[in-house]
Symmetry: C2
Subunit: 418 residues, 2 copies
């Protein structure tokens, strides 16, 4: 008898029919003797509807009040799913984030989970209930409602699994697992049976939208076994089969010896590049630039600074495309003169393409194969950044698909490896 | 500088445009130096939409979960209104019922308010905020979300006004006050400038849907001055004029000497009549019958029992028409044999018509004028029940409009009294 957390996204609970299917699926797991905690998102389209309503009132909605409005989407789903479970004879109880004290910081619209009080949930599990918890939402120390940002329900699920020391956290979604790259771009893309946390982290952060990155960080930190699988299969399919479907995100590299060096090709079209040219190369410059950006609550992704010439250097970084205008404003107003940059050059028409693989650590030549492949396609590389298990390049955004297809092929990802 | 509670119903906040109008109206009151607490309902149609969704999942929705779902309607409105207030430069903050500890009992879907913690609200008022609170909802001692039933936002507003010892509670609605009867049935119906709490209580309980009855009880109990007025007027109308519009519900009978004996004709089409015939007339019978009805959480309105003949009597009462089938089932299953009734006879096709007036206390002849008027129209009276300030009769429902018009005329309600 295991304690299992299920998470169902917006598409999986997008209609009354689908909510009923989710209930049948949960019933199957409970009948097999498992204790179930279920985290749900808002019905698909609902969060967008609420945000649009808010923007009609206030083009730039107050973040605290936006969270009050946006968090209602998940609250509707928890009630409906609990009803659907009761309707088929299960004991069930729903909770909002605040009701189970999903304590977060006060960064409205992108809050981070600090703690969860799992006592109520344990008591309900002990008395045979399926516990349904609203994803995406929490409460700060002052009792304000907060939300975790897009995809936050994944994080809610993993945080609950960690707090409850669950045996597994199953993320049911509208895709059937993690692929070597986006099948819409590369039809030969292949589903991975397993992927390591580190790889998944890079894949997620690089734009493979299967899982929210923070949920993967959380799962890695608290060693929560995580599986991504489809919610669109027959809810009555055999449990043993379902339990082994999708992609398992593992802690071990054990089978990696036989595997490809690269697990996947990730990409993101949502970024913009900003460069400050001819910045004096002295201590504290990076902080003076990025400190102001962080102050404005803008996340920075890649950061590149090359060696200096004549004591001057160029400093580049990327931000989410939505925050490009804001970042440019901050730099113009608070940074440019202060750090003595010559000019600020920005480009929102870029894309980032990365190859990811834990095997990279022990293999040379990955970078050179990547760069050669792009060169052969005539794609100019604008920025390069590397980590132990990934290499990312920034290219002009019109080359995105071409780059992804060429790299997927060059690294042999279309072939199943034993 | 007064502390004033405003309440806006579903129609008043039924669109983005109307919410913006509400914000302008509130701004006007704040500019005049008042401290404002604003209670809002769900946008019109929203509660029905949520309940319909729930019924698609579970034809008879679990009450706890229904409250989780239904309470989201008000939560959306508070966020939107707070945004609208900020957008025009006011300081504003929204709270759900649970956030300001609107403590209720655990009778889901029809909970009653026990207490409100007004500390947070006072602190926000002190720092110049308009405080926006979700009506209709609360939290029980176990932290479960509860709702107060249809019209519950009126009660929320009055309860807040009582807790804060507000100077006045203004109920903004889609009618411009309390009328002598429903103008849709009697075009000559007249708006009352004032009405006493006792009269309003009878009018409300008898189906004049301007205010929820519990809100009037609350206001009477805690001596909260209450005014019903229109939210559809120009939000920029002069404040002095607005503050004196609508109908004021007063504690005093002071001006009653010059007034008509009867204040209004109320009616209800939502009731059903049930009679247990030939019940033994012994102590405890009424309790044995109604105890089971109360147990099933069914509210009983009129109760009539006549003198006994041969130790047997007929026992009649009315319930809400929605609960007629349930009440009949309870009686058949748990009461009939037990109390030894001959049969249970029910009729959902009835209507109740009442004349209400505090002046009735000191005037004889009201009942005889009422009965004569109905007799002259050929309307048979099925049941009669009286209180100090009202007389109610049950008639076949097809006679409802005829009875209301005849009584409104007979008691001279179409003429303005000095």
């Amino acid at each position: 008898m295991a304690l299992i957390v299920h998470k169902y996204g917006g598409t999986s609970v997008g209609s009354v029919e689908r909510i009923k299917n989710v209930a049948r699926r949960i019933a199957k797991w409970q009948r097999a003797g498992h204790r179930l905690v279920v985290v749900v998102s808002a019905m698909s389209g609902e969060t967008n509807r609420l945000i649009a309503l808010a923007k009609e009132i206030q083009p730039n909605p107050d973040p605290r009040e936006l969270d009050v409005v946006a968090s209602t989407g998940e609250q509707v789903t928890i009630g409906l799913l609990a009803m659907a479970l009761k309707e088929i004879g299960l004991k069930a109880k729903s909770y909002t984030g605040p009701q189970v004290h999903v304590l977060t910081d006060s960064a409205f619209t992108k809050a981070r989970i600090i703690d969860i009080d799992e006592k109520k949930i344990r008591a309900d599990l002990d008395s045979g209930h399926v516990v349904v918890v609203a994803g995406f939402q929490g409460v700060d120390e002052h009792g304000n409602i907060t939300t975790l940002g897009r995809g936050g329900s994944d994080t809610s699920a993993v945080a609950l699994a960690a707090a409850l020391r669950a045996d597994e956290c199953l993320i049911y979604t509208d895709v059937d697992g993690v692929y070597t790259t986006d099948p819409r771009i590369v039809p030969e893309a292949r589903r991975l049976h397993t992927i390591t946390f580190e790889e998944m982290l890079e894949m997620a952060s690089l734009g493979s939208k299967v899982l929210q990155i923070r949920s993967v960080e959380f799962a890695g930190k608290y060693k929560v076994p995580l599986r991504v699988l489809s919610s669109l299969t027959d809810p009555d399919m055999p449990l043993a089969e379902e339990a082994n479907s999708g992609t398992l995100i593992t802690f071990e590299e054990d089978t990696k010896m036989e595997k490809a060096v690269i697990s996947g090709v990730a990409f993101s079209r949502d970024e913009a590049k900003i460069t400050l040219t001819r910045v004096p190369d002295r201590p504290g410059i990076a902080y003076q630039i990025l400190g102001q950006i962080a102050e404005a609550n803008i996340d920075v992704d890649m950061i590149v600074q090359n060696i200096s010439v004549d004591g001057m250097t160029d400093f580049s970084f990327t931000v989410h495309r939505n925050e490009y205008a804001k970042a440019m404003d901050v730099l113009a107003a608070k940074v440019k003169t202060h750090v003595g940059a010559k000019e600020i050059v920005g480009d929102p028409k870029i894309a980032k393409v990365s190859v990811v693989g834990i095997g990279m650590r022990s293999h040379v030549g990955i970078a050179s194969l990547m760069f050669r492949t792009l060169a052969e396609e005539g794609i100019n590389i604008q920025m390069i950044s590397t980590s132990e298990i990934k290499i990312s390049v920034v290219v002009e955004d019109k080359y995105l698909e071409l780059a992804v297809r060429a790299l997927h092929k060059a690294f042999g990802l279309e072939q199943e490896t034993a």
